[in-house]
């Protein structure tokens, strides 16, 4: 809720690109809030950050760090 549209898009792109969030199969563009929260929790846990499901500065900073382009298998739901 606290994100502007541009940052929200960047965060969603990151979560989709690295396998934390999956585009809904039924093609609906919007992600459900609970899916986004769950995806953020999975990312924060894998990054050894405080797990809140909300965007905060630590999470924002971690998403900016250089990394490998291969997806992460840390959200069990999307991994399945």
């Amino acid at each position: 809720r606290a994100l502007g549209p541009t940052e929200k898009e960047a965060v969603l792109d990151y979560l989709v690109q690295y396998g934390y969030l999956q585009k809904p199969l039924e093609g609906a563009e919007d992600f459900r809030l609970e899916d986004i929260t769950e995806a953020l929790r999975a990312f924060q846990e894998a990054s050894e950050l405080p797990v809140s499901g909300q965007m905060d500065d630590d999470t924002r900073a971690r998403m900016k760090q250089p990394r490998c382009g291969v997806e992460d298998p840390f959200n069990q739901k999307t991994l399945k």
Partner: protein
Amino acid sequence: YLLLGRWRKKHLTFRIFNLPSTLSPSRARAALHQAFKYWSSVAPLTFREVKAGWADIRLSFHGRQSPYCSNTFDGPGKVLAHADIPELGSVHFDNDEFWTEGTYQGVNLRIIAAHEVGHALGLGHSRYTQALMAPVYAGYQPYFKLHPDDVAGIQALYGKKSPETEDEEEEIETPTVSPATTKPSPMPNPCSSELDATMLGPRGKTYAFKGDYVWTVTDSGPGPLFRVSALWEGLPGNLDAAVYSPRTKWIHFFKGNKVWRYVGFKMSPGFPMKLNRVEPNLDAALYWPINKKVFLFKGSGYWQWDELARTDLSRYPKPIKELFTGVPDQPSAAMSWHDGQVYFFKGKDYWRLNQQLRVAKGYPRNITHWMHCSPQTPDTNSFTGDITPSSTDTILDATPSTMDSILDITPSTTD
């Protein structure tokens, strides 16, 4: 750790296609070699570098644009590299990164390469943020070594490294395939040379091969000579036979006991291969559009090969004369045309066969005629190419040329 796949073999080859500009080639190569050593020091894996032809693991650097990778990079920072899981073998690094070694500046090539090789060997990302296989780059570590989770993952895939495999450890070997540096054979005269091979190639171009050279043939005469290896990288000269199959789009070249396969001008993975079901040192090869089979010729015999089916070749070779009536033994080259007419070459003569594979009346004829070289054609080296078929020439009678495209034998960007 997460296991994403595994190689069915433990002795793998790798090839470095290009290097970053921010490191000296020797330091960059040393970093990439060490990346493999981290894994071969804890698991029964060996890695051998090859410098030409196919390799199991292929390392290359590209930037935002890449003709062979849909997963483009994003400029400095963010994504540093990516890799495919077994048994694909692609490992790509972002050419826009400041790749370094031995400093906290930039991005350490050795550590990132070790991570990507981990993917190429079958490891996914680790939940341990200090593990090599963690997704986020943890920065330069002067005394880097694998994390226990990395070791546990690779050993889950390939087992532990036992003492006896220690001595099996093959050092990163020097390349086994060195590019041919032999002096090219003398330039042939397309108007009068005996041919090594001919083929009706992709897009209906007629190629003739002699020594280290290849040229196209159209109704305006032979085209410019090119070195075979300039068009088909990795292919030697003095070929025995060449054949293009419109059915599979494969071009097969034969020499000695080896066969090369190309699609267009790109060698197919795993080639060259050893010829083991037909005799080596073939004389000629052709694709017959009537039954879509490839025919191979040697001496007085032929083999009929279905490229897409397991052909029982035990009943071959069969006598050429049984099927190709009026054709000499030991032809030097052969090809067929779209309409199924077949051409055989031997010495300075050529034969044309009709669709019943029977030599047509008035053959053999001189190869000069097939090459559309008029008698006064000057020597090739000063060849001007202004040959116009004499009025008595009937196009179909000589090399059929209506399908030939304008000469542009060098692989265009679309090739």
